[in-house]
């Protein structure tokens, strides 16, 4: 009897202990987000001046003289915008083809596997590949090269995210359209794309956020310049590399501005993330429930 009671107590103690550990883990994981944001805001905010976002680097910028990172902000927007657009051209057809023609077939599985594998390839490898590609076709480090490589980085993210929402679309909508005599292409274009628009927008913005923060792939391919990009064939600055290079200097003022640039990048990424929630919530009103 006594032993039974003892065991009974022990398993409940274990239960309580494990629950405590789990709550602690959750606090640690969530807390690390808080810590990151706190560190970036506290260290970045003091150096975040109006000049930072309205001016390009002036002479001696990397030694602490005046200027800002407008070149990098615009460069990043161009790079990620172009990359996202290019990735969208390919990923929407792939996601639609997976849904309307391949479904859960053997080929569907191969394509999904290959997308997951592509997603896992690190951006430094995409950068190295992009570099060999540039050598092969005689392209210099430029906005165009950066856009192409970012499109490669973003393609699997966007396609897989789209695929995840599109494959969950209720089958009856598709079947109703097919029963009315629509071709599959029309179903894909007029039914799936419209019904799944919120999910598609979320996928596009997710990929954009990933693209704008990526440093390792553009390091090789987009180059860096203090000028605002004016042509696809010219090199361009990017915000992640601006952070990286400013922290690499020995001057505290410049490092300060590096923290401010990191804060700017964080703000952009958070805006994209919240924006995608808001937009998809808004668009959800126009879908068939």
């Amino acid at each position: 009897m006594g032993m039974k009671k003892n065991r009974w107590q022990r398993r409940h103690l274990v239960e309580a202990f494990m629950q405590l550990l789990m709550r602690l883990s959750l606090v640690v994981v969530a807390g690390s987000l808080g810590l990151i944001l706190w560190t970036i805001i506290v260290r970045g905010l003091p150096a975040l001046t109006w000049d930072m976002i309205t001016q390009s680097p002036k002479g001696g910028f990397y030694m602490g003289k005046g200027g800002g990172v407008l070149n990098a902000i615009l460069g990043s927007l161009y790079l990620a915008g172009g990359g996202t657009l290019l990735a969208l051209i390919f990923s929407l057809p792939i996601a639609l083809y997976l849904k309307t023609y391949l479904g859960d077939s053997k080929w569907g599985r191969y394509v999904r596997l290959s997308l997951d594998v592509l997603w896992g390839i690190p951006s430094i490898v995409y950068g190295a590949f992009g570099f060999t590609l540039m050598l092969a076709i005689g392209l210099r480090a430029s906005l165009l090269a950066g856009i192409i490589v970012l499109a490669l980085v973003e393609l699997p993210i966007m396609t897989r995210a789209m695929d995840e929402v599109i494959r969950r679309m209720p089958a009856d909508l598709e079947q109703a359209a097919l029963a009315l005599g629509s071709t599959r292409f029309e179903v894909a274009l007029r039914v799936i794309t419209r019904q799944m628009l919120p999910g598609i927008v979320t996928a596009v913005l997710l990929a954009f956020g990933r693209g704008i923060g990526d440093a390792a792939s553009v390091l090789f391919t987009a180059g860096y310049t203090d000028r605002i990009p004016t042509s696809l064939m010219r090199p361009t600055a990017s915000l992640p590399l601006a952070v990286f290079f400013q922290l690499g200097t020995p001057y505290p003022e410049v490092q300060q501005r590096g923290y401010a640039s990191a804060l700017l990048l964080t703000i952009i990424v958070l805006l994209v993330s919240f924006g995608s929630r808001w937009i998809s919530g808004y668009l959800n009103k126009y879908t068939i429930k």
């Binding site: 969530a30 792939i94 391949l102 290959s114 292409f185 990933r210």
Partner: protein, 330 residues
């Protein structure tokens, strides 16, 4: 039909002209869209093959000039003297990844269990955006955080602690007191891969049918007993796959690790040592790689090594995960 008078035929064909042609136009468009889409859909598979082949081709000069054993196990990296030994970099990558994964996995498993088995739906719906935001933060921002918070933390708290209490244990010796090193890189990596591991584990845990949990709870097991003896055995392969997936993500992480790991090309002997992982090697030296013979081949060979390991890890874990997730829909 041939006997019909010509004027009637023209009228009729005018009438019929529209309808069949619209239908055939639609089906023609459907067919050509299908053809175009199917070609585009092969793009991902094509890309994997092309990326691998391109890296093999570009690193061929060095692969053919040195035996593979000398490249991989070689200890000395002096491109000017034509010495290309990857071993310090391979070990650097290995240690940073291992430390990151070991730090990330236990809390991630606990969080995933908590979210599936215990959490209130409100907790669950707040945890998801937090994890999404963690995943959305760019690597370079993680690097800045590591530089500002983790490196000083290692330097001022963990290293003195280890020096005081763990100094006789081989892997915990403090040889260089800067804070930059494997431990700092591992901590940053752990936070970076946590959202991925948690979300994959969460998906996996939800595939376990509730009936199993109810049966166990009904005979008097506590919730933790149910998890340990009913849920966990069901999802074990999925947990392993999630960990491997996290490791493969950690292997290739470049900028964030590069900023805190110290970048010293020596085989590390302690988690407080500086290391020089492969991605950092590639990123730091891309600038001079065209100026020294074989250097570009060596760096692209480093990228190839990374790619091959990651491809293997990814394909294995994805196959396991796909199989486990299909169970849910079946």
């Amino acid at each position: 039909m041939n006997e019909l008078n010509p004027s009637a035929i023209t009228i009729e064909s005018e009438g019929r002209d529209d309808r069949p042609s619209v239908a055939s136009q639609r089906s023609r468009r459907d067919r050509s869209a299908r053809r175009v889409f199917s070609v585009i859909t092969l793009l991902p598979i094509f890309l994997i093959v092309v990326i691998t082949l391109a890296l093999v081709a570009r690193s061929w000069p060095i692969l053919s000039a040195y035996p593979l054993k000398d490249l991989i196990l070689g200890n000395i990296w002096k491109p000017d003297d034509k010495l290309f030994g990857f071993w310090p970099f391979i070990m650097g990558t290995f240690w940073v990844t291992i430390v990151g994964v070991l730090l990330a996995v236990p809390p991630c498993i606990l969080v995933a269990i908590y979210l599936t088995e215990y959490a209130h739906s409100l907790t669950r719906s707040t945890a998801k955006p937090i994890l999404d935001l963690l995943a959305a933060i760019p690597p370079v921002v993680y690097g800045v955080w590591g530089l500002l918070a983790i490196v000083p933390f290692v330097d001022q708290v963990l290293a003195p602690f280890s020096e005081r209490w763990l100094n006789n244990i081989p892997l915990f010796t403090v040889n260089q007191p800067t804070g930059f090193g494997i431990l700092a890189g591992g901590i940053v990596l752990a936070v970076m891969i946590a959202p991925l591991i948690v979300s994959v584990l969460y998906e996996i845990f939800t595939t376990v049918p509730n009936d199993l949990r109810h049966a166990s709870l009904a005979v008097g097991a506590t919730r933790w007993q149910t998890i340990r003896s009913v849920v966990l055995p069901q999802v074990m392969p999925g947990i392993v796959a999630a960990v491997v997936l996290g490791a493969s993500r950690a292997l290739g992480e470049t900028i964030a690790v590069l900023m805190v790991v110290g970048n010293v090309a020596k085989v590390p002997t302690s988690i407080f040592d500086a290391a020089y992982p492969l991605p950092a090697l590639i990123a730091n030296n891309y600038g001079d790689m065209m100026s020294i013979p074989l250097y570009d081949a060596a760096l692209l060979c480093a990228a190839l090594v990374l790619l091959v390991v990651i491809l293997i890890f990814n394909i294995l874990s994805t196959l396991v995960l796909q199989r486990m997730l299909e169970r849910k829909w079946a």
